[in-house]
């Protein structure tokens, strides 16, 4: 009985990668089409300095999206990623500015806070059996409030921490290639994406994430410790939120406690546009990165063309709906 179930799972996993590959291509084609359109529509778009703008604008959302990919592929959702990002930044601010500790302590604090809060979400979902939407909605509000409480409702500046800007806005690559001023945060995003892609596709955690997403009951009956792996999934998502918190606080040289709410929607949009299904069981990190770039290329291109801000949001909304529609169509085909 268990043999056939494992074979079915393996077979369906191969199929999943093919459909995912097709969706990746669709998203990639859309991205190229957008870049082509904006390059033609306005000469300022394709300049190198603007490319850097786009890369930098994508970094935080790209990282948040990667974290969400794990959770969404496991058929869960994490609405707290935006405020968790802010919360980790605030804790880093406490460690570095209030307590005056060295930079590595702050970085550790951000990652540890993210992982811990992610685990708490996972625990609430796995052990207390609260649906992910509700659990992470509650977490989102808690973290939002705690960020304001701990920071005293005002930003914590990192002026006392030398080199904090190394995490994001600084461009260390200029030491080797003086003309390529790509901020470090962009490399952090790509690094996170590569590692996450490897974890998702090659590691045991990745296998279990897909298993949870495609058929949780089958996984449970096959002897998989579903509760444990759920908690690990959300903890990993939280860890990645900690990275995002470091990126955004480094870019702003401050922890801004009021920021963050609403950012989870951009992250989920990136995941969905990239071809990952909200019902779980399929998805790729590459798709999420492409989705994040589609959104930032769209925003930047429309800004360069001086289309009003309000329309940018409308167009992004339309793209999300179209992306899910195409996603469903491709699913039916397979």
């Amino acid at each position: 009985m268990s043999d056939t179930t494992m074979d079915d799972k393996r077979g369906s996993l191969t199929n999943l990668f093919t459909v995912s590959a097709l969706q990746k291509v669709v998203a990639f084609v859309v991205l190229i089409a957008l870049i082509g359109f904006f390059s033609v529509a306005n000469e300022n778009f394709a300049r190198w300095s603007n490319v850097i703008n786009i890369l930098q604008a994508t970094a935080v959302n790209g990282v948040l999206g990667v974290g969400c990919t794990f959770v969404i592929v496991s058929a869960g959702i994490d609405l707290s990623v935006g405020t968790l990002m802010t919360f980790t930044a605030v804790i880093t601010g406490v460690v570095l500015t209030f307590w005056g500790m060295p930079m590595w302590a702050g970085i550790f604090a951000a990652l540890a806070t993210g992982t811990f809060c992610g685990s708490v979400s996972g625990f609430i979902i796995a052990k207390l059996k609260i649906p992910p939407f509700i659990a992470t909605l509650g977490m989102m509000q808690c973290l939002r409030g705690l960020s304001l409480v701990i920071s005293g409702v005002k930003p914590i500046y990192f002026n006392d921490t030398e080199n904090y800007s190394l995490i994001s806005p600084d461009s260390s690559i200029t030491l080797i290639f003086p003309n390529i001023e790509i901020p470090n945060g962009v490399f952090v995003m790509f690094g996170v994406a590569v590692l996450a892609a490897i974890i998702l596709s090659k590691s045991i955690l990745g296998r279990y994430v897909f298993a949870l997403g495609s058929n949780e009951e089958a996984a449970r009956l096959s002897g998989v410790n579903v509760d444990f792996w759920k908690i690990v999934t959300y903890a990993l998502g939280g860890f990645i939120c900690g990275i995002a918190g470091l990126l955004i606080s480094s870019r702003l040289n401050s922890a801004q406690p009021a920021l963050g709410q609403g950012y989870e929607l951009d992250a989920i949009a990136a995941v969905v546009i990239g071809g990952t299904s909200l019902s779980g069981g399929r998805g790729t990190v590459l798709g999420t990165i492409i989705g994040a770039f589609i959104m930032s290329v769209l925003n930047n291109g429309l800004r360069i063309m001086s289309v009003e801000e309000q329309w940018q949001v409308v167009i992004t909304g339309i793209i999300i709906i179209v992306a899910v529609y195409v996603d469903n169509m491709l699913r039916k085909k397979s």
Partner: protein, 311 residues
């Protein structure tokens, strides 16, 4: 199906391309404001657009969806710089955090005019702003007079990060401390949107039953104050800031005693005129004080005052 999608996408793209404004030979100034969370900014936009027409320059006026999205404001600033404008207008959401990014524009020799909230830096050629310290001090004077120079009061300030938030808070608090030793500020909360401000005021009224007056430091805070006072029917002196239809109505029906208004249309005009002057190489003063007025039921319809009020 695929053909339909392709054709509609092309049509869509063509529409966007056609609707995007084109800037030929006129000077172009992108103006990055704090967004449109308050009608105040619509008035600034109006002033800026009028001045743009009068000076034959082209502007775009934009801002992020909420006043907390500082990184999105920076993305807008970067995109604006990428358009190689002749000048740039900027109202900082965080006067400290955004200074390094202004350096980028300065490096490209783009003249910058700050407005509303300035930045802690010498980079802007001038800052078109209200003297918020003096204006909030005037509000404090009116509050003191209304409560008989003694008693408990509270304040709802719109933020702690921008120059306007800090300026109005300090202006109000310091004036009370210096001139009115018998008045005590028993509660001070931060809220930028009307609903949150309303809840904060209601909590304030509950916690301090002897409170005699409350100050709201911007349009959102003042509207929240008015809502709370109306709903609780508390006999408390309310003083606001800026205008907007709801605030004007509250003053007319007696819920609020009066407010300090800035000159938002004047601020918008000042930004564009200063940029136009900067492009021609004229020197600008470090700060241009666009002025403020106290208004209440008695002078709201005076021509001078009515001109700076907005709906």
């Amino acid at each position: 199906m695929k053909k339909t999608i392709l054709v509609s996408a092309l049509a869509f793209g063509a529409t966007i391309a056609a609707s995007a404004p084109s800037f030929a030979d006129e000077a172009y100034f992108p103006i990055i404001s704090k967004g449109f969370s308050h009608q105040f900014w619509q008035a600034v936009k109006l002033g800026a657009e009028d001045a743009a027409k009068a000076n034959s320059v082209k502007i775009t006026f934009e801002g992020p969806a909420t006043e907390a999205m500082i990184d999105k404001q920076i993305d807008m600033l970067n995109a604006a710089i990428a358009k190689k404008p002749q000048g740039l207008g900027f109202a900082a959401l965080d006067s400290k955090a955004e200074v390094p990014l202004l350096k980028k524009a300065a490096d490209q020799k783009i003249p910058i005019v700050a407005f509303d909230s300035g930045v802690d830096s010498d980079i802007p050629l001038t800052t078109c702003t209200t003297d918020n310290l003096a204006a909030a001090g005037a509000a404090a004077d009116k509050m003191a007079a209304a409560i008989g120079n003694e008693g408990e009061i509270g304040a709802v300030i719109h933020d702690q990060t921008s120059a306007t938030g800090i300026g109005r808070r300090d202006g109000f608090v310091n004036r009370i401390k210096e001139k009115y030793p018998n008045i005590k500020i028993v509660d001070l909360q931060y809220a930028n949107d009307a609903l949150k401000a309303a809840e904060d005021v209601k909590a304030m009224l509950q916690a301090h039953p002897k409170i005699k007056g409350i100050f709201g430091s911007n349009e959102g805070a003042a509207i929240g104050l008015a809502i709370a006072l109306k709903e609780t029917k508390a006999k408390v002196v309310g003083i606001g800031y800026d205008s907007g239809k709801k605030q004007k109505d509250a003053i007319n029906d007696g819920t609020l005693l009066g407010s300090i208004t800035q000159n938002p249309v004047g601020i918008g005009k000042c930004v564009v005129e200063s940029l136009a002057k900067a492009v021609k190489g004229e020197k600008l003063p470090k700060v241009i004080d666009t002025g403020y007025y106290w208004y209440d039921k008695s002078n709201m319809s005076d021509a001078k005052v009515a001109a700076v009020l907005y709906d």
